[in-house]
């Protein structure tokens, strides 16, 4: 049980973090996130007792961390740093045994129990085959597992991770985070750079900015589009990972460049064909609408994730008269309509048919249609508006094309 109560600290030149409090439940994995310079590592160092607190208190199992000896701290709290430079050729076993230092007296030697605990930690981290190798001969991912094994040999109640995986490849990152997440009975507090990993692995998140907590809670409460744009200053899409149900961030890359002209554009798409177009036009700062889309369509989720207004219907149902009237109204207020190549059948042909009612709106088509309509409805509809259709192949130039008119 660890309680962080109103702590402030810094590196001697004033406080970097101010008044931070939280107390994770036993065994919980808490992620600390925030932009560079927000005080994430400072917070971790303060909890670990590496930095002295100017205010507040950190308690582990009712022990005040600032008042107990380094040995006592080492028995309750393990730290996994981002990277450990090991100058001399110690074996993996020797390094893990160093985790037992706090338990071995100055004038005694490691006991059978110590060796047993070290062996358990080595097995848990899948290092058995490397135990006698030098730490300087193994890969970065393996070395980080050694450092985790060393922390486990301390038998800590709390494990602190300072961006423990940020310089590793994705496979090693996940391997190590899986290992850490599965440590039962150990409370984990980790600083993360990668928000997707933080969301995926942590039970709770704490968002720091300017040395203060500005949001905390479940991953989906903390990782929101609003927080990302407010504290990280990025324009990103937060969707839900369909497998883990955790928030997932997709940052948008500036593609067309802002034209300065904000247009109203309606997008007609389906089955995921419109995502790219939506993101591209959204990036250019246009005001978008989309539809009509079924709410289980991936274009619907994409539109929602960037806050585009969507005309929607329930899955497998056709739009009623009111909805069609609304579509017609939305289109008539638009400066342009973009149609994404998609499968067109009798169910969604209404989206294209409606265009013939609004005579002067330019239409841009990107991609190819797959026609499943009866009686050649698609061909007819396109024929009716053929004078104002522009067929485009290049998504990146779309925005400037539309604006250029």
């Amino acid at each position: 049980m660890i309680i962080v109560d109103e702590i402030s600290s810094g590196y001697g030149g004033g406080d970097i973090i101010r008044g931070i409090s939280f107390s994770p439940g036993d065994g919980e994995f808490v992620g600390i996130i925030g932009p560079n310079g927000s005080g994430k590592s400072t917070l971790l160092k303060s909890i670990a007792g590496i930095l002295n607190l100017s205010k507040g208190i950190v308690k582990i199992e009712d022990l005040d961390v600032s008042k107990i000896s380094p040995k006592e701290i080492a028995k309750t709290l393990g730290v996994v740093p981002q990277e450990t430079a090991i100058s001399f050729d110690y074996s993996v076993f020797d390094i893990v045994m160093m985790g037992r230092h706090a338990y071995i007296g100055r004038f005694s030697h490691e006991s059978v129990t110590d060796v047993e605990i070290v062996n358990q930690a080595i097995d848990k981290c899948n290092l058995r085959h490397l135990a006698e190798r030098s730490v300087n001969e193994i890969s970065g991912g393996e070395r980080q597992r050694v450092i985790i094994a060393r922390a486990l040999a301390q038998q800590p109640k709390v494990l602190l991770l300072d961006e423990a995986t940020s310089h590793l490849d994705i496979n090693h990152q996940m391997e190590i985070l899986n290992l850490i997440k599965d440590l039962s009975g150990v409370t984990k507090i980790g600083v993360f750079h990668d928000l997707n990993l933080a969301a995926q692995y942590c039970d709770r998140l704490i968002l720091l900015n300017g040395g203060e907590v500005c949001s905390s809670g479940l991953p989906n409460e903390v990782i929101t589009q609003k927080n990302l744009s407010e504290f990280y200053g990025i324009n990103a899409v937060v969707s839900v990972n369909p497998v883990t149900k955790k928030p997932r961030i997709v940052s948008l890359i500036e593609s067309g460049g802002k034209t300065g002209q904000k247009l109203k554009i309606h997008i007609i798409s389906g089955g995921g064909s419109g995502c790219e177009i939506m993101y591209a036009l959204y990036e250019c700062g246009h005001e978008l609408t989309a539809g009509i889309l079924s709410i289980d369509d991936s274009d619907y989720s994409a539109a929602k994730s960037v806050g585009i207004e969507v005309l929607s219907v329930m899955p497998f149902s056709s739009p009623d008269g009111a909805m069609l009237a609304k579509l017609s109204e939305v289109i008539s207020q638009s400066d342009a309509v973009v149609i994404a190549g998609m499968c067109v059948g009798d169910g969604n042909i209404v989206n294209i048919e409606v265009l013939s009612k609004n005579h002067d709106i330019p239409v841009y088509v990107i991609g190819d249609f797959s026609d499943f309509t009866s009686d050649g409805k698609l061909t007819d509809s396109l024929l009716k508006i053929k004078k104002r259709i522009n067929y485009e192949s290049d998504l990146s130039g779309l925005s400037s094309k539309i604006s250029g008119r």
Binding site: A48, P70, K71, V79, I95
Partner: protein
Amino acid sequence: MKKKNILVILILLVISVVSIIFSIALGPTEVELSTLLSIFLNPSGADQTANLIILDIRLPRILSAFLVGCGLAVAGAVMQGLFKNSMADPYIIGTSSGGALGAAISIVIFAGAGLPFFAFIGATGATLMVYVLATKNGRAPVETLLLSGVALSMFFSAILSFLMYNAGKSLHQIVFWLMGGFWNVGWTDAFTGLIIIFASVFLLFFSRDLNILSLGEDDAGTLGVDVELLKKVLLVASSLVAGIAVAIAGAIGFIGLITPHVMRLIVGPDHRVLIPSSLFAGGLFLLWADNMTRTFFNEMPVGVITAFVGAPFFLLLLRRRMRA
């Protein structure tokens, strides 16, 4: 501790004892084995000249050389661990330049009176000064210690040069001292040298802490090492050792650098093994270097031999490491 490492230490111990005994027979004056035996078995009945040569000249010199070698190697091993750098030596934080300055002050101002004392005060005083200069808010980061050491060494060297420039006739005395040697050692020096053994045993009890410290200060702290206290202990004990070595024999180079480096290749980086094996190896190195100078090289300063042998050897190691 691995069996192989215990064996290495035992072998070094045996070679040390044998070498010390064998060295007694070495020297410009030939002493018959029977005379040697009679000196130890029946001192009053033996040849008085041989008695004087063996007991008052050779034995204290042999023991001093061995102990100074031990001290330099142990202090070197500790400094390399503390600074996480196998290129560090016992003099790295001002010990040799401080000792040299102390010796020069004694020679120039007091005509050489109390030279070992001045050298000792200079050597340990320099280390203390470096520590004080590098400390802020109770912390002395090793990088700062290293840089302060370099800066202070240069400053002391400047004063030393000034003293040498004004030394006049006693210049050659300073130069000889700087090269290092055992011309004038007696039993007092050999007994003083025993402090080196005590300090080394003391340091041995901190060898596990030193292992962990060589992973970096932050890591060591989270593993339960009181880093600042440990640094103080290590600096005090190793500068005491190096200071005594410098006071006895002057600033002899390369032993403190080479010995721990070579022993690390043989026994590995664990200081629990590295410190005792460096101790014997350093003692042996300096003992044989001194045996050579007093037997074959007409009392050339021993520092010349250690550097002459040590530097190429060191380069060889460096090349090998670059290939690896």
